[in-house]
């Protein structure tokens, strides 16, 4: 490693002010800090610091996404072979899934990081780590049969309009990954819904078994009036059609455990999303006038993107509420609206994405009220003692 360090030290002056490649300073800095934790020491204030930094935080989230990703890769293959009626072993399924999923990830990262680097360069900032997570989240919320150019367009939209116009990581109002998803949903509705996009190969119509439907569980519920085809266990394990990373509640729960145990993700938000969703679904169960209302409350929680949204999207600290009390309110309302939109949306039976984006918008308002109540409480204390 010493040789590498020497090499970096040798070329570093070219990227500093006045050097040949001064314009590429941010880019150089990003790679240098990726390879080596910088030797900067504390100059004022505390002399020691917690070892956790933004890179480690983001790396932990990516790690938490890995179970959902791996399962998604396998499931892409599994669903494909199920649809085409072929027998296949474990590895061919993984292989097929990998060939489908990996390009989506590459496109997402390359597009997003290129834009991030350009903006960091223009601003003269260090490159932020935020996109390490967004770049992984975007593929996981997309259907597997999506054309790659759409991934690129959506990612560019999310990074530029969702993040950079606000000032970059930490400044955005909406979750960038969900914005990418929402962009595709509204810009290309014909692609993003229906029965074929969820399973690889179906869009091009290669040898589908007669009578096979690639619709998601929620889609099936609307068209056929029940979800008997999708047992609770199948939905929990995730062997159902859906976006790449969202199907397996089990894999998502492993991720949730990692996030909560390391202290990176907010258990308050996760818990209250599930609580809100469960109570809302329970309420609809009591009414029970449409097929979607009749889906048992616990089953609702493992269908569609609910679990994925609760664990990985709602907890994005930048777009979520920032106060402790606010987190409970924010999470609860996401749960409530997710199920409500899911049940009432006539065009597309899924609501998590819209619910989270909606609550992202209201997060500052919730925080405002929490802060105001803290101020009032503090004022009351003053008048009591006076």
């Amino acid at each position: 490693m010493k040789a590498l360090r020497r090499f970096i030290d040798k070329i570093k002056p070219h990227f500093e002010k006045g050097g040949k490649f001064e314009k590429l300073h941010s880019t150089f800095d990003a790679f240098e800090t990726l390879l080596f934790v910088p030797n900067t020491t504390n100059k004022e204030g505390v002399h020691v610091r917690d070892a956790m930094d933004m890179k480690r935080t983001m790396a932990t989230v990516v790690l938490a996404l890995v179970p959902a990703l791996l399962f998604g890769i396998w499931n892409a293959g599994y669903q494909h072979f199920l649809a085409t009626g072929q027998e296949a072993d474990f590895w061919p399924m993984v292989g097929h899934g990998f060939l489908k999923v990996f390009p989506i990830i590459v496109v997402s990262y390359v597009t997003g990081l290129a834009i991030e680097f350009i903006f960091a360069q223009i601003r003269g900032h260090e490159v932020n780590e935020g996109f390490l997570v967004s770049g992984m989240l975007i593929p996981l919320v997309l259907p597997v049969d999506i054309p790659l150019w759409m991934v690129a367009v959506a990612t560019a939209f999310a990074v530029i309009i969702g993040k950079e116009v606000f000032g970059g990581t930490g400044m955005n109002i909406w979750n960038p990954a969900l914005l990418a998803r929402a962009f595709l949903f509204f810009a290309y509705p014909a692609y993003m819904s229906g029965d074929t996009i969820w399973i690889s190969g179906l869009t091009s119509g290669e040898g589908i078994v007669d009578g096979f439907s690639g619709a998601t569980a929620l889609g099936t519920a609307v068209t056929t009036g029940n979800i008997d085809k999708f047992s609770f266990m199948d939905s929990f394990l995730g062997i159902i059609p859906g976006s790449i990373g969202e199907t397996s509640a089990l894999a998502i729960l492993i991720g949730a455990f990692i996030l909560i145990y390391t202290g990176v993700g907010s258990w308050r938000i996760m818990l209250s999303v599930f609580a809100g969703g469960f109570l809302m679904a329970l309420g609809f169960n009591a009414i029970g006038s449409t097929p979607l209302m009749q889906i048992p409350a616990w089953h609702h929680l493992v269908l569609g993107g609910f679990a994925f949204g609760a664990v990985f999207m709602a907890t994005d600290p930048v777009s979520a509420t920032r106060t402790t009390k606010g987190k409970y309110i924010y999470g609860f309302l996401i749960g409530v609206f997710s199920i409500m939109i899911r049940v009432f949306n006539p065009a597309y039976p899924e609501g998590v994405m819209l619910a989270i984006l909606l609550m992202n918008t209201f997060a500052p308002l919730i925080d405002h009220f929490v802060v105001e109540s803290n101020i009032k409480q503090r004022l009351k204390r003053a008048s009591v003692t006076a």
């Binding site: 080596f36 030797n39 020691v48 070892a51 202290g263 803290n374």
Partner: protein
Amino acid sequence: MSEVIKIKKGLDIPLKGKADKVFGQAQLPDLFAIKPTDFNGVVPKMVIKEGEKVKAGSVLFFDKYQPDVKFVSPVSGHLEAVIRGERRKILEVVVKSDGKNETVDFGKEDISSLERDTVVKKMQEAGTWPYLRQRPYDVIAKPEHTPKAIYISGFDTAPLAPDYDFIMTGKEKEFQAGIDVLKKLCENIHIGINDEAASKLYLNTKGVEIHRFRGPHPAGNAGIQIHHVMPVNKGETVWTIQPQEVAAVGKLFTTGKHDFSRTIVVAGSEIKKPAYYHTVMGACIAPYISNNINSDEHVRLISGNVLTGTQVSEEGYLGFYHSQLTAIPEGDDYEFMGWAKPGLGKYSISRTYFSWLQPRKEYRLNANMHGGKRPIVVSGVYEKVLPMDILPEQLFKSILVEDIDKMEQLGIYELAEEDVALCEFVCPSKMNLQKILRNGIELMIKELG
């Protein structure tokens, strides 16, 4: 028995190099210094010139804005140098000791018959007034204010901090005398004690109200204790003073002399034999670290603790308010892929490094920042280490946008840098929160007086 106030939020950083309760031997140095930078908001005006003779207790400089607040020499000798920094700002006023220890006699007093004005005058004359600091703002107290209380935290929970039970042993009389003097300034004197320590001295002190605390750092901070006992609201002031300083005040009135002797702890992972030392305020630290450093790497020396102390050179001086000297590795080297390693030797309040597998480990933490500065992204971390009914992140943001109303409403009056030092320690975005808070306080002083 008063009830125990349990502090739940906070963090004891498990640092290596805690001192045993023994005294080390070291010669007193020749050089001593008073650093105007130790006092928030003080603009020093020199009284004497370089080379002039001084006694222990002679005035070196005073505050331009409060000329009655005087700063005196801790030893007899002559003014060796006035060290200046950028824009001729005075950084250190260095006195070279002649070893004779001649002291200015301010005259004994019968404490019970003293008036408030006499106490104020005498404390100002003898240079003991700067010991009194006020909340809000953590600046030297203003004599014209009548505080609602004087608050003394009887223990220190900061990393590797001295054990006050140990260093105050034998100072019972002076301490009681100091309390009696302070009672002339304000009737209401409170002492916060550690519920898990013996605290004999404090419990035997007459005329004070005792509060018991239990919990991790910052439970020992006066600011935190005041928040739980008698929060500072707009328009109120509470004065604080440290135990050794109370004893010094007591001695001034019983003997007529300003007692500059201090007991300090020398600790940290890079110290060979962490121990306590008898020394004098503002002493050059060289005698306490020479032959006492066990590392070949760059070492960072800190007057005070690792959270709030100031970095000093090997020839640097102890801070005015400090009773601790800490040595940690500088950590100014690059670490290959450090953010991706399991990190068994890295300490974090989160469990993102696998060091949580060894809960009882003591760490040799260095002064590396462990990452770059970023905008605030993660939420809810500051709250874990600030045991106050205050929304820290919102307060810092209001300071950054200079919204004075919000700063006031969110509780800036109750905070000093030391109270938010742990927030700065845990901050994943590596913000300089203590600095931000001080900027906010300075803005408040400028705008509101």
